[in-house]
Symmetry: C2
Subunit: 355 residues, 2 copies
Amino acid sequence: MKIAILPGDGIGPEIIEQAVKVLNTLGESFEMESAPVGGAGYAAHGHPLPEATLKLAQEADAVLFGAVGDWKYDTLERSLRPEQAILGLRKNLGLFANLRPAILYPELAGASTLKPEVVSGLDILIIRELTGDIYFGQPRGVREAPDGPFKGQREGFDTMRYAEGEIRRIAHVAFQAAQKRDKRLTSVDKANVLETFQFWKDIVTDVHKEYPDVALDHMYVDNAAMQLVRAPKKFDVMVTGNMFGDILSDAAAMLTGSIGMLPSASLDANNKGLYEPSHGSAPDIAGKGVANPLATILSAAMMLRYSLGKAEQADRIENAVKKVLAQGLRTPDIYEAGTTKVGTAEMGEAVVKAL
Amino acid sequence: MKIAILPGDGIGPEIIEQAVKVLNTLGESFEMESAPVGGAGYAAHGHPLPEATLKLAQEADAVLFGAVGDWKYDTLERSLRPEQAILGLRKNLGLFANLRPAILYPELAGASTLKPEVVSGLDILIIRELTGDIYFGQPRGVREAPDGPFKGQREGFDTMRYAEGEIRRIAHVAFQAAQKRDKRLTSVDKANVLETFQFWKDIVTDVHKEYPDVALDHMYVDNAAMQLVRAPKKFDVMVTGNMFGDILSDAAAMLTGSIGMLPSASLDANNKGLYEPSHGSAPDIAGKGVANPLATILSAAMMLRYSLGKAEQADRIENAVKKVLAQGLRTPDIYEAGTTKVGTAEMGEAVVKAL
Ligand SMILES: CC(C)[C@H](C(=O)O)[C@@H](O)C(=O)O
Ligand SMILES: CC(C)[C@H](C(=O)O)[C@@H](O)C(=O)O
């Protein structure tokens, strides 16, 4: 089995290094090959997603991704900026299903800005559609406004679009994920305003007929943003479009106060996937050896479970992470008085030892 | 001066009644005329925004609006549902600037789901563009997908659009609001993905040249949703488009835990405005006399300040509200042990007395 390793920018390389160390401890024989992506891709080959990197990702059984982005690339034109790599990988690999768990580890309840009783035991799974919506819809651009009160002026425009098959396949992923959990699914839309999301709601309602054991409810996106703050534990699985999912999954992650702990998976129709931490490239702390590698290590666990058919190894890693937390080891982002502050490499070592 | 009073549905009529009582105590001679809107408009005239209601709102100097929506209208076709009234009023009256303060009253710090140190003293002003964006952009609908991997299938679609003049005018409102506060403005966009919001960012940056005394920063919408949870007090004024503003202003309101306290203003180019509480119609508690009328009373204060040129009267009302809070009076939504629980009418009476 072949894993493409794409460390990227900022803290990407150092956290990926720890995850690779953990994978190497499992006693499996994975073929791993790494390639530059994001700003590193641009620096090496003049493009955030160099052809060879894309080819490697396409040929691999799974992709382990660090993070991309650095201030030094901010002045590049948009098509060359690091984040285009992630959009390009999603689209080219057909990674339409983004799974973003928001889990609060009991030991880290204090890290949240929310009151403990509101978030302790939080365990939500947000499923975000990742290759459609206004992220990719054509036409888009800047033009002369063709009509309306500002006709003739310059205007920026984009197209939100969701086709029936696109909604059906993400709905199936969501209902099946709910079946494996508490069997409750909230579909988030804006059907009161958007044609796209009235259509979304209708199709999700139709797919629901195949999953009578799952309780489905529909919620407007503005209300969902409120309920995540008010009573997040009421949610089990949420499913939504690319744009709303971008916003809500980040808000949900931040509820835990420990985004350095949260993995993510982006899957295609055949369970091939790209796995990455939910946090960013944090260029401000890059190279200092203080970044939290656990989200990346947990992403590797998701990879073992969803793409490589090694659920037991995934469990082993997840248990090892719980163990190091129970031992009181903390990187600076999750440090609290009374615990032991460690760096990136020490944390990775501790997980290896716990295995 | 003429005020159009549109009570609407659910708790709308009972909270509006208290605000009207307060306005009548000021010793000013306002002409007030009321008309049905939302579900009540549909029930009376077969349309959520009856012609006579729209005419009244157009002729008045300001509109005081309760809330719309009730489950009984959920099965109506979309164009007849209560919330169409609010979209119609915004568009027809040209109410492009929505001002949504998120303020946490010190006495109510306990109501928030966030830790007191994270939210105490919170005072953010969110300025949401209200007549453009994907809310109104044409074309939109359900069609056969004209291209892409799902070509030929049914798809829902909408158009996000912002013209230069539309962005300029809301940017001016935002910079001027920031000048009257802490002189910090955060423009929220998704310029890394959307053409509309790269254009938005460019225009806001250009308008900034006219306001060198205001510090401007740009933030992606997903990050803004996170920062609202992580460190909301870092914000002063935020400005964004209609869709992102819908989501972020509701999230920000919920941070306070006391959305029953939060007013809003929606202004046109000449300071004519529609004023309404930030909360909804709450049909579950309608008619029970337990709804919190303070958001509506504070909306009336905003109306006095922004549309009717009576800033002193606005101050009087706001001080009266602070006084009743200091007296320990609380409607059930903000009740805590050690305070005095009162109903809708008693709360209105208390404000009248405090005046
Ligand atoms: C970097 C950006 C294009 C990306 C997105 O908007 O999808 C990021 O925010 C994410 O959620 O992975
Ligand atoms: C009712 C709905 C159309 C409306 C909106 O989306 O603008 C509401 O959520 C609001 O924020 O006033």
